[in-house]
């Protein structure tokens, strides 16, 4: 009964969402935004404002008008120049939110328009903010000598996070400490850093309490700091509590999205159809204020070659700025985009080389232990096991051959009336945590405390949105210290109490943070019966000595742990309606030790649906740098008239004793498998996602 009533407890407890918060004397804040993509602001004409309404602009920011992330930054409020539609120019503060909306619609901002740039093109060289090249061998020579050369161009679109609660923050003064900020964030200490810098106060004077961000897909990583800073500035100037919550439409129109990618592959094959040369060029559109650029570009450079080995490789990644909203993370840091292009290109290669897809993949996989170079070793590739699992369970080989035969024999897809079928397969990997140097950057830490009554408390700023992560941590304490899970508490996230564990992204919660908890528990275990209680141990993240990574040459072990996955997607496409329907999805994951299979399965399921949405319906298309209400109304996750069959398996790896991340894996393999399946079913080569019916129809018209 205790477990059954978990739902009741969830509903009865105060949810603690920003939108639910109220305080006496509270004010609301709303954003005055740029209506143009690139311009100088020449004036702001206000209607007559009531005495209790104030407009704050860049000059009202008490100290530093910047939000910074690892050396890159953007203004909190635009000064003289705006760089994207929706860029915050001011914060309007007052006691009635409806009134603020009315006033905002009557504020007239005048601009002197400047040239705007939205998509990468030949003139982009002066907009490159970061470039990463990775190469070995001699690609030019190998391409010249190749038996066959296969070229392809691929594009992945922006994607909206569609997190549960829109962005928001609540800021108020506290007598003793200064400011208290409630923020729906994955990174509480970044909120603290941003707010304290903006207000010019010591960090300890800004207390941040993290509210439940729900399923965030990395949309609550850094943007909450911007909203929190706005609310805190308003609170600082007015002296009153300030609540700032975006509507879902406003959130959709103006906040950050997944960075679109343009990828060109030129691949040389030898006589057996195997890889002899890989030349890959990738352009990432980072929007107006690139953030996490190096991390994203480097991860994309690693994922560009995926799990394959090749003696001659050149990968060139460029991150470009544009007059779109900041575009960066979404369920990962760009690897999904690179994997889509790679695996879609591999599907084309296997067709050209006339080799069965699984056979080709396994022939070209790199052995485990080869990270970053093309040298061979004698071990079995980790991707091999997951490929075998999905291809066997889905009966891939037989279906693929059958559908290929049907494709060759049938009339033109566009003339047919009966549905056709296709099946695709793709594999990928996911590195957990930041690239090696990144983990040491912030000195993340965790504290575990063993109390006199024998209970334990975990203190961390890591935000666990799901029970699976919380139960993983508690299980660790239980395994090492023998304390029952219901006697292990996880402290509320309050920066005045918990240490900075770094951002909750890149599966750090199940890897980096989890390892720190383990380390704390092991130390407590050794002291337990020798030291008086309570015992409190703090541990920081350490990069294992055997994991060496040269960030300049991109050689070595970039991640502390890497997980693998493979997916098969089977579709049926109705040529009458041009609507693909997913019949089945098979996903095999190797993610180390699975502490809670039920929870891991839920995570994988969620990832599958996210991936399907991105592959088929979730498209964001900017027009002159802007999105419209129509775009908002149109955007929705994929809805199913028939729920596809899902098969998920966690492949055991006897050597791997620790947990690894798996949340981003479905997004890295399912889109390419989906595209390959639709390609086979229709005969139209899909080279971009989302693959909407409109896109398919356009391709059909071209051929």
């Amino acid at each position: 009964m205790a477990e059954i009533s978990a739902l009741r407890k969830l509903l009865q407890e105060p949810a603690g969402f920003i939108s639910d918060m109220y305080a006496p004397n509270m004010l609301y804040a709303q954003t005055l935004r740029s209506s143009t993509a690139h311009a100088r602001v020449t004036g702001i004409a206000l209607p007559e404002l009531p005495s209790d309404v104030t407009l704050l602009t860049a000059t009202d920011v008490p100290r530093i008008n910047r939000l910074s992330v690892y050396g890159e930054s953007m203004p909190l409020l635009a000064g003289k120049e705006v760089h994207y539609v929706g860029e915050p120019i001011g914060v309007l503060v007052g006691p009635h939110s409806e009134q603020l909306r009315w006033i905002l619609s009557r504020i007239d901002v005048s601009y002197q328009e400047l040239p705007a740039y939205f998509i990468p093109d030949d003139a982009m060289s002066d907009r490159v903010v970061y470039e990463r090249t990775r190469e070995w061998g001699n690609v030019e020579a190998a391409l010249n000598e190749a038996y066959q050369v296969v070229e392809g161009r691929y594009h992945t679109g922006a994607q909206e996070h569609l997190y549960s609660e829109p962005q928001g923050a609540f800021a108020l003064r506290e007598e003793d400490t200064g400011f208290l900020v409630f923020s729906s964030t994955q990174w509480p200490y970044h909120v603290q850093q941003t707010v304290s810098e903006a207000l010019g106060i010591p960090r300890a004077s800004c207390r941040v309490r993290a509210t439940d961000p729900g399923v965030h897909l990395d949309g609550k990583l850094w943007y909450p700091s911007l909203i929190a800073a706005h609310a805190a500035i308003a609170c600082s100037v007015t002296g009153r509590p300030v609540k700032m919550v975006l509507s879902r439409e406003e959130d959709f129109l103006f906040t950050s999205k997944r960075a679109p990618a343009f990828v060109e592959h030129t691949t040389g094959l030898d006589r057996t159809g195997n890889l002899s040369a890989l030349n890959i060029r990738i352009v990432l559109n980072m929007g107006a204020y690139p953030l996490f650029t190096q991390e994203i570009a480097d991860r994309v450079a690693l994922a560009a070659v995926g799990e394959y080995q090749c003696q001659n490789v050149r990968v060139d990644v460029r991150a470009v700025t544009s007059n779109l909203p900041p575009l960066n993370v979404c369920s990962g840091f760009g690897a999904a985009q690179a994997f889509f292009a790679l695996e879609t290109h591999v599907s084309r290669i296997t067709e050209v080389a006339q080799v069965a897809p699984v056979t080709w993949k396994k022939s070209n996989l790199k052995a485990s232990g080869n990270r970053g170079t093309g040298a061979k070793s004698g071990e079995v590739p980790e991707s091999s096991a997951v490929l075998d699992a999905v291809s066997t369970e889905s009966d891939f080989a037989r279906k693929y051959a059958a559908y290929e035969l049907q494709k060759k024999r049938r009339e033109r897809f566009s003339e047919m009336l009966e549905p056709t079928r296709g099946i695709g397969i793709a594999c990928c990997s996911q590195g957990s945590g930041f690239l090696q140097r990144g983990e040491a950057r912030d000195n993340p830490a965790v504290v575990v405390r063993l109390d006199k009554d024998g209970s334990a408390e975990i203190l961390t700023s890591a935000v666990a949105y799901s029970d699976s992560v919380r139960s993983l941590w508690k299980k660790n304490v239980n395994d090492i210290l023998g304390i029952e899970e219901d006697r292990v508490t996880i402290s509320e996230i309050d920066t005045s109490r918990v240490p900075d564990s770094g951002p909750s992204t890149l599966s750090r919660n199940v890897t980096v943070v989890n390892r720190m908890i383990e380390s704390c528990c092991k130390t407590i275990k050794t002291r337990r019966f020798r030291t008086a209680l309570p015992i409190e141990v703090k541990r920081t993240a350490r990069i294992p000595r055997d994991k060496k990574w040269n960030s300049q040459t991109m050689e070595g072990e970039p991640f502390q742990s890497v997980s693998h996955a493979a997916a098969v997607v089977e579709v049926e496409v109705n040529p009458v309606t041009v609507s693909p329907a997913v019949r089945g999805i098979w996903l095999a994951v190797e993610a180390g030790r699975i502490m809670n299979p039920t929870e891991a399965r839920k995570t994988a399921e969620m990832g599958i649906y996210h991936a399907l949405g991105w592959s088929s319906t979730e498209g964001v298309t900017f027009t002159a740098g802007a999105l419209s209400r129509s775009d908002y109304q149109r955007y929705q996750p994929q809805l199913f008239t028939r729920i596809p069959t899902l098969w998920i398996e966690f492949v055991k790896n006897a050597e791997k004793l620790s947990a690894k991340g798996l949340g981003d894996l479905p997004l890295s393999c399912i889109p390419a498998a989906y595209a390959a399946a639709v390609t086979q079913a229709t005969g139209e080569y899909l080279d971009q996602i989302p693959a909407t019916p409109r896109l398919l129809r356009a391709y059909m018209e071209e051929t």
Partner: protein
């Protein structure tokens, strides 16, 4: 204008502008935060309530429309014995909705199994599609509804056809 209606079984009366949305009234006037403002387009289902016993969307209902009507929110449904069937169903399916959409998912389930003791695949899929939240997979949600329906049938001794 003066709006009088029945809220979770109790008669209530408030002064509100005719165009104020029910979702705002419930949250601000009565402190009932279970129905949340979501898309405000009638698409996401996060603001689900029962109006006259039927599943409805509080963001699509202006104040004047509830005059003399019966409104039930998640807070009311949780007081009923029927809620236990949903607790059981969700637990059995391993379904743990997030805090943001849990209320809406319960209400959709409640409304469906009340009217359809043995919901078929189409009804299940339609119900699962009514709430847009990334926290739970479709398959798990439909399983949860199915198990809840099963519990309901057992409670009322309804035979499955």
């Amino acid at each position: 204008m003066r709006i009088s209606f029945v809220l979770n079984g109790d008669p209530v009366s408030i002064d509100a502008r005719a165009e104020t949305l029910l979702v705002d009234i419930l949250r601000k006037e009565f402190g009932l935060t279970g129905a949340r403002p979501g898309c405000l387009q009638g698409e996401c289902g996060i603001c689900s309530i029962l109006l006259g016993g039927e599943l409805s969307l509080a963001c699509m209902i202006p104040a004047f429309r509830v005059q003399d009507c019966e409104v039930t929110t998640i807070e009311g449904v949780m007081q009923s014995r029927e809620f236990r069937d949903i607790e059981y169903g969700f637990h059995r399916a391993g379904m743990e909705p997030c805090r943001f959409c849990a209320a809406a998912k319960v209400l959709v389930t409640h409304a469906l199994i009340r009217s359809t003791p043995t919901p078929g695949t189409e009804a299940l899929t339609s119900a699962a599609s009514a709430i847009h939240c990334r926290c739970t997979s479709y398959s798990r949600f439909t399983e949860g509804i199915r198990f809840a329906a099963e519990a309901r049938r057992k409670r009322y001794n309804v035979r499955q056809r």
